[in-house]
């Protein structure tokens, strides 16, 4: 099996009210140096070894997992996971 880890964040330039609230809370709690906080999503899944992983994952992200209007995604693939 392959383990796929997908990271989805709001595009740069798109307002992230959640990230802003988290950052302000951190700053108010002893971490004044924190900057550029963004909150995103993390999705993991297993795919069979024979899958065309890159293509599959991109199709899943484009169709459902990410909204290209406001979000962007990246992913990593870890091969050789024993099921």
């Amino acid at each position: 099996m392959k383990k796929v880890r997908i990271f989805i964040t709001l595009k740069e330039g798109v307002l992230d009210p959640q990230g802003k609230a988290v950052q302000e809370a951190l700053q108010a709690n002893g971490f004044p140096e924190v900057a550029d906080t963004r909150v995103g999503k993390y999705i993991e899944m297993s795919l069979p070894d024979n899958a065309d992983t890159a293509q599959e994952v991109q199709r899943m992200c484009d169709k459902l997992l990410a909204n290209p209007v406001m979000e962007e995604y990246s992913y990593t693939v870890e091969e050789g996971i024993k099921s």
Partner: protein, 227 residues
């Protein structure tokens, strides 16, 4: 005239929509469960508010890839009026029937109160019973109603005259004060405020009723011939 109110797991304004059509407008409506729905015989499709699929992933995202949306797309293509309110609007955005996306409200708060909307266009099938520039009182109830689109999309919306309702006092950070937009062809309307919750004085406003009356008027003009 026969309206279909599409019900997803997690819809919660479906009854309000049903009530608006049946008791406010005085026309036929069915609550149509999203699975195995057959929309062939309906004259208008209503996507109600709520939290379809618990807002999992993104508001409206999972409903937008359900089978019933393929039928709705086909209906939209042949000109059937499709109205999406609140979560219904979010679903329309996720399917791509309307451009843009919804972000969290600027101030992160769920807001539930009346807003003043400005009717920017009264030449759509949804707004012909309003005056252009009319100010109407319609309740909002959302946490993610901060309409977002990029500059190019906004320009297209403006050029095609697709912005139908704007907020007089923008409550949520929406771009260009947008509260509701129509498709280029004009038969798909998405809006965050709830016209179905403002159809009789008892509810505090009946400014939403004219929207449903406009749809009925359009249908009569199109399909009912008088001898």
């Amino acid at each position: 005239m026969k309206f279909a109110v599409i019900v997803f797991p997690g819809s919660n304004c479906d009854r309000d929509m049903y009530h608006a059509v049946r008791d406010g407008l005085g026309e036929e409506a069915d609550l149509v469960w999203y699975e195995n729905a057959n929309l062939a015989d309906y004259d208008a499709i209503l996507l109600p508010g709520g939290f379809s699929y618990g807002d999992y992933l993104r508001s409206g995202a999972i409903a937008s890839v359900s089978n019933v949306l393929n039928q709705i797309k086909q209906k939209a293509e042949i000109g059937t009026p499709v109205l999406g309110v609140c979560n219904g609007f979010q679903i329309l955005l996720e399917t791509g029937l309307l451009p843009g996306a919804m972000l969290r409200n600027e101030k992160m708060k769920f807001m539930c109160h009346y807003e003043t909307l400005v009717v920017e266009r009264n030449d759509t099938l949804f707004t012909s019973s309003y005056e252009k520039g009319q100010e109407i009182q319609i309740p909002i109830a959302h946490g993610e109603g901060n309409y977002y689109c990029d500059d190019a999309t906004l320009e297209t919306l403006q050029q095609n005259n697709q912005i139908v309702f704007t907020y007089k006092n923008n409550p949520n950070g929406s771009r260009a004060d947008i509260a509701g937009i129509v498709s280029k062809a004009g038969n798909v309307l998405g809006m965050m405020p709830h016209p179905e919750r403002a159809v009789e004085d008892l509810l505090g406003s009946k400014d939403g009723l004219a929207l449903f009356q406009s749809v009925l008027h359009h249908w009569r003009e199109m399909y009912v011939t008088t001898s």
